[in-house]
Amino acid sequence: MHIDKDLVAASATPLVLGILADGELYGYAILKRVAELSGGRMEWTDGMLYPLLHRLERLGYVAASWGTSEVGRRRKHYSLTPSGRALLRERQDQWEVVADALRKAWESTQRPLLADGLA
């Protein structure tokens, strides 16, 4: 399913923060988790994740450390910092408000839409 890129951009930060809240991960694993959580319906341009992670790192929401993968490759791991955790909570509250409002708005418009369809 194609998802509008503004929506992807807006949800990327809370999604990444939420995934990292479960523990340290590296880039590719984060993307796999995104695919898993959305049932493969959210498709990101993979390369775009890294500038985002770097931005979050610069702002102090995530901490990065270099390690090695199981086959000995250099791998950068990201983990949530306390201020990242605080940001995540803040975003969760905001998204809940938005999601709530959307749900209510769509519930009330559902009937006229259906009526149109039946007419």
């Binding site: 590719y28 341009t45 993979d46 390369g47 500038p51 250099r74 791998r75």
Partner: protein
Amino acid sequence: MTDVDLEAQIARWRSFVTRRQAIAPADVDELEDHLRGQVEDLRTTGLSDDEAFLIAIGRLGNLDTVSREFAREHSERLWKQLALVPRDADSGLSPAWRDLAVALGCAVGAGAAIKAGGTWIRPEDTFVRNAPLLVMPFVATYLAWQRRVSTRVYGVLLLGFVALALVLNLYPYDPAGSTGALAALHGPVLMWLLVGVAYVGGRWRSDERRMDAVRFTGELAIYYTLLAIGGGVLTGLTGGVLGLLGADVDTILGNWVMPFAVPGALLVAVWLVEAKKSVVENLAPVLTKVFTPLTILMLLAVLGVLATSGDLSHVDRQALIVMDAILILVECLLLYAISARDPLARVGVFDVLQLVLVVVALLVDAVMLAAMVSRIAEYGSSPNKLATLGVNLLLLVHLACTAWLELGFLRGRRPFATVERWQTRYLLVYGAWALLVVVGFGPIFRFA
């Protein structure tokens, strides 16, 4: 596709991505880890290496877009390319630091040599004649060291500098004569050719390497000018403040700061050009494009004044010397413009402008030659006049052939490479002429 192919594909991709300024080497590592993870996962679903690689690359996204995103996050990287030495030099002395250390060592050496020479070499004009000889060997040494040249090249350099030192100091120049001054003026040309030999790592027969040496010289001029301006402002301000505070700084500046700063800046500029080749190279074409039209206007003005001044044999001697300097400058500009041009680029407006510049310079040179010949006919010859005449003849041949070859290029008859090759080959002719003036003029004119 085998594992080897996959590795080759990834290596190619890496070198392609590494060229993006906004994507740092560490980011490339990170992206590579991602790419490999993706490829491995795709392979387990039964895809071939080739398919897996293509899909993984596709998912990574358009490189331009990704690179732009990196640039937005790391805009400083587009500028910080000028960083002098890599900051993450984790273990020991990195090559970049070692280069800088050796360059600074050579700079101090050149400064000390100039300081010692200025103190002990008397009279003044002997020191002036020897001053380049006290600096250039350090430049050549640094470049030779940096290029790890063979012992043979070191030998050639040593021999060249020693021979020049012997000629400049053992010839019994008449202090009132001009051959000593001519040798002092032409000596640095030969020394710079030796520096060029060091720069090209001894491979001076290669046209491409010689063109590199030309580019290097041009870049060096830019860097040195920038350093000189900065240094001038800094010493001026410091001297001004200290002077107002009542400290006597003129003697310190003259006796200690200048002897070290002037040759030192040259070495630092050499190091800078080498350390950051790629940054200012982009400036060279722009600079030549700015100055080529301006120089054409200047030469036209000179030509106009010459044409209306009447009798050529009465053109002021000083004016001829200044015009010679202008022509040499034009020559440098031309050489630099040619060195900065992409030989594969198509014919453009600038190529026409360049031909105009060459033709105008050719006309100025022809008028000057006429003036000189008539002066020699009227007042007789002298070492000075012959040296100037010689340079102007060389310039005439150089410019005439350049004009001819450029015309051929503009009409699509020749590739630009022939114009380039003519320039790099002709450099040796200037060298030979300088050698004649330095070594031959003294004995020929009995050191007058």
